[in-house]
């Protein structure tokens, strides 16, 4: 007998696979792209949820990692497609259009950025942490706007989607399968990490820092590790998102992006492994259905979000599967 949560997980993942497959048979590429967006946003949300749900770190600056991932893709592909080098000294570094390399670079650089931002922001906690992460993301936003080499305010267009061995990534369904595969991989990793000794210690530190310290663990180190992993996952999502649009712009660094990633997590349910995926899917559904109703659909989104926060805490998963994981 599966629990309600496991049933919901299975239904969600099946739906995310069946909708684009159906759309492929019905020759509706737009629907495939829409689902791909949901999958990528889901990965970004899983990243944030690792810090927020498991570690209790309310980061309002995850756009920093999402945007960095996007720019890694943009810059590497731009140099490869124009046959120029990223740098010539002290050694020559060419660009690349291989997705796997782009992902690796995006993950590593996002992890490094998260290490820097985390080390500074974790010197504080609570409301300071929220404001500081938001401020650092805004710093990168202004840097991306004022740095003219890669398009500045206008962003950077890439004409051909990057390559993945054996696939035609320009075909929407094939690119979707790549993203879906990565989603499964990330879900599996996060699932395993949440149950590892590290994940358990992190959850314990969120609930009671003093006791964890008394047991000989270092909460600050746990938080920082969680923040780095979280940033790396969101950075990967950023690289995929830029590849989906074949375009990257400073908007990916904006505070609205940070807010939206947080909305995915909250709509789905904080602390649930699959929650952000459900939240992202619901967000795309709302955007699509409400966006058709009215140009001012953000008013409705705001009202729904307000309702969820004030009255239906726990998001979709809390509503359907009951409150098992409390966030505090």
């Amino acid at each position: 007998m599966m629990s309600k949560e496991a049933l919901l997980n299975t239904a969600l993942m099946a739906l995310l696979l069946l909708v684009p497959l159906g759309a492929w048979f019905a020759d509706e590429p737009f629907l495939i792209t829409l689902t791909t967006r949901a999958v990528i946003f889901g990965i970004a949300g899983i990243g944030l949820n690792f810090a927020l749900g498991l570690g209790g770190l309310v980061s309002l600056g995850h756009a920093a990692f999402f945007g960095l991932g996007g720019y890694v893709m943009g810059v590497l592909a731009y140099h490869a497609q124009t046959y120029t080098s990223l740098m010539t000294w002290p050694f020559e570094l060419p660009g690349t259009t291989a997705m796997t390399i782009i992902w690796l670079v995006a993950i590593c650089l996002s992890a490094l950025l998260a290490l820097g931002i985390g080390a500074l922001s974790l010197r504080t906690s609570g409301v300071y942490f929220i404001m500081i992460t938001l401020a650092f993301a805004q710093m990168l936003y202004y840097f991306a706007i004022s740095w003219p080499a890669y398009g500045g305010e206008d962003g950077l267009s890439i004409y051909v989607r990057n390559r993945f061995v054996g696939l035609n990534t320009m075909d929407p369904i094939q690119f979707f399968m790549v993203c879906y595969g990565l989603l499964l991989l990330v879900l599996g990793l996060v699932w395993a990490m949440a149950r590892s000794a590290f994940g358990l210690a992190l959850g314990a530190a969120r609930q009671n820092e003093e006791r964890v310290r008394a047991l000989g663990q270092k909460p600050q180190r746990l938080y920082l590790t969680a923040f780095v992993i979280s940033g790396a996952i969101t950075g990967l999502a950023g690289a995929l998102f830029a590849d989906l649009n074949r375009f990257v712009s400073p908007t990916m660094f904006s505070w609205q992006t940070s807010g939206e990633i947080m909305i995915f997590v909250i709509l789905g349910g904080v602390g649930r492994v699959f929650g952000p995926v459900a939240g992202a899917a619901l967000f795309i559904l709302l955007e699509y259905s409400l966006g058709g109703l009215s140009d001012y659909w953000h008013v409705y989104l705001g009202a729904i979000l307000l309702g969820v926060v004030l009255f239906a805490r726990g998001g979709i998963y809390g509503l359907i599967a009951g409150r098992e994981v409390a966030h505090d």
């Binding site: 609570g126 409301v127 500081i132 710093m139 840097f143 947080m262 001012y296 969820v308 926060v309």
Partner: protein, 305 residues
Amino acid sequence: MSLVLFIEQVLNGLQFGVMLFLMAAGLTLVFGVMGLINLAHGSLYMVGAFAAAATAAATGSFVLALIASLVFAAFAGVLIEVLVIRRLYERDHLDQVLATFALILIFSEGTRWLFGSFPLFLDKPDWLSGTVGLPFGIVYSRYRLAMILVGLAVAVGLFWMIAKTRIGIRIRAGENDREMIAALGVNISLLHTFVFALGAALAGFAGALIGAIQSVQVGMGEPVLILAFVVIVIGGIGSIKGAFVGALLVGLTDTLGRFLLPVLFRLAMEPSAANAVGASLASMSIYLLMAGVLLFRPRGLFASQ
């Protein structure tokens, strides 16, 4: 010659800093007394600017426009405090962030629906346009000078209110111990509404004053809000003095950074590259300032604890 230009930039930095203080004061008061992080503070700034622009367009009077900005922003503040914010005081910061983020979405789209997507313009009145001569042959914009003086006057008034009046005593008592002053018979929920409306009015006033030198448009509040966050992180949350010092530091660092860094890089680089690198670094300067303060004083320069 160059010194005159430099002093002019210092004045610009002061003007920017004083306006940031009007934003940051409300945020830091609301956090200090109610323990609430309010992302929708930028929306109140926008409400003030739009109220001023609409009133100026209807009546032609700048003074009426400023009064309208105070009234409308305070009214919007009371409205959201009573309907939404009040339910958030006992919630955790995550809920506060999300609910006030939702308020931003509602305010921004609502304003776009009412006024359209095109920016409005708020003209300076005739008696404040043009320039004014200062000692040492400095010529400075009359309007910006007025902004500095008005901002400083508001700051002095705020310090006086908090230090000397009965309501100020209650605000300080509320910061120290919420339950205790409620037990002593102070109407705590009225006090909360008052503090929130005061912060809203200050933000709306800043929006109107800035609206006359920039365009009035949807989304104008959030960049200023994030700068105000940087200000109170530097100053220490809950401290009005910290907000004032932080605001001036941020205003001067940003303005002088934009002015001096390109000049500095031009010593070592060709002019176009120097301008690009200088501008990029200048856009990051206040965040680097914040990081520097965090390294040495994690709870800000004037933290209350």
